[in-house]
Amino acid sequence: MNSSNPSGESDQDLIARWRAGDSRAASLLVGRHADSLARFAVSSGEREDIEELVQDTFVRAFASLDAFRGESSLRTWLFTIERRLMLDRRRTERRQKAMVPIEPADATTEYDALDSLLAEETESRVRKAVESLSPTQHEVFLLRVEQGLSYKEIADVVGTTEGAARVHYHNAMRAVKEFVND
């Protein structure tokens, strides 16, 4: 659905042009999708090296464009790759945290605590409601509301069924309403 564009050329057209050696097509493709990927990363809780994450996503996507058969949109496929990279990051972070004992009296820890307290105060109530969702509800909800993906596209990105994606979205919506009305 997202493969066509008001400016005329679809993602598929640009991919074909890039394959034929036109590097300007790559600039157009990256320019078209980079901001969405950055927003999805930040909304998903990534705080560091966003540009690196987005770059890795494109590098992987372009390195294996042959595997992309155009059955889903390029946008969906990019989200799928980015999501996998974020999961890898979190797994690595968890492993590092498990290895390094946390010092409670550490100066940086105190600073972080103060920092997040301030952030929490300025954060809106609806945002807190979204952040309180379970991980699965959270990513489905972000893809649906902030990125505008269809249930089918969400199912492709997170590896579930269209029906399950719909149920996750509505459960998330109910949880958000309850949180806000509390």
Binding site: R19, A20, A26, I50, E51, V54
Partner: protein, 216 residues
């Protein structure tokens, strides 16, 4: 805040907000929302949520484009038979996987055999060159290539101690990739995914039994 009874409309509210409806659906939805307080309320909540999204940094497009791989020779000749393109690209990746597995297996053996054998330097460097050139030929991501080459150094010590023919038999696995089916290539590729995603400090243990393994 109560929920509208029209499940179909509620389903499509995010699409209405994100401009992803065709003209007819959009007109129907707009008409409903104008007459339904519940849906108006829910749409307002969705808009508030979207507006509350944290700011993302601006992305430097040119920097990303500069980091992209060049269009592969096999992808440029897009007038070639349709099958050839994906197949040959899969082949490159599969060769990288096989090169990685081969060195990992050899490395495993090296640790078992290194104590008993003394290396023959000349054939060791021959093997090293062959494996390194295989890794380079695959043209894969730096991580994969580096992993292959890094494990070669200790591996060749033991590989050279055994008959060179045996070592070459292992390396000749790479040539056999062309004989693999699509399914086999796919499973190799999914292996590659996990290898790239989580680079390990050491090659993971791989249980592949080779002909000359058990007889010793």
């Amino acid at each position: 805040m109560t929920d509208c009874m029209n499940a179909e409309v509620r389903d499509a509210l995010p699409d209405l907000m994100n401009g992803r409806l065709g003209d007819i659906d959009k007109a129907t939805m707009t008409a409903h929302v104008e007459s339904c307080a519940d849906c108006r309320e829910e749409l307002r909540l969705l808009q508030e949520i979207k507006a509350s999204a944290p700011m993302a940094p601006r992305i430097d497009v040119s920097k990303i484009v500069a980091a992209l791989p060049a269009a592969m020779p096999s992808t440029i000749d897009h007038l070639a038979p349709a099958r050839a393109r994906p197949r040959s690209s899969m082949m490159w990746k599969a060769m990288a996987v096989v090169a990685l597995l081969t060195t990992a297996v050899t490395f495993g053996k090296a640790r078992r055999q290194a104590i008993e054998v003394s290396p023959a330097a000349s054939s060791a460097s021959a093997v090293r060159q062959e494996v390194a050139s295989q890794a380079a030929k695959t043209g894969q991501s730096e991580g994969t290539t580096r992993a292959s080459v890094a494990t070669v150094a200790p591996a060749v010590v033991a590989a050279a101690a055994r008959p060179v023919a045996a070592a070459r038999a292992e390396l000749s696995l790479t040539g056999g990739v062309q004989d693999l089916s699509d399914d086999q290539l796919q499973s190799l590729l999914s292996g590659l995914d996990s290898v790239q995603g989580l680079p390990a400090a050491e090659p993971e243990a791989v249980t592949i039994s080779l002909d000359d393994n058990e007889g010793q």
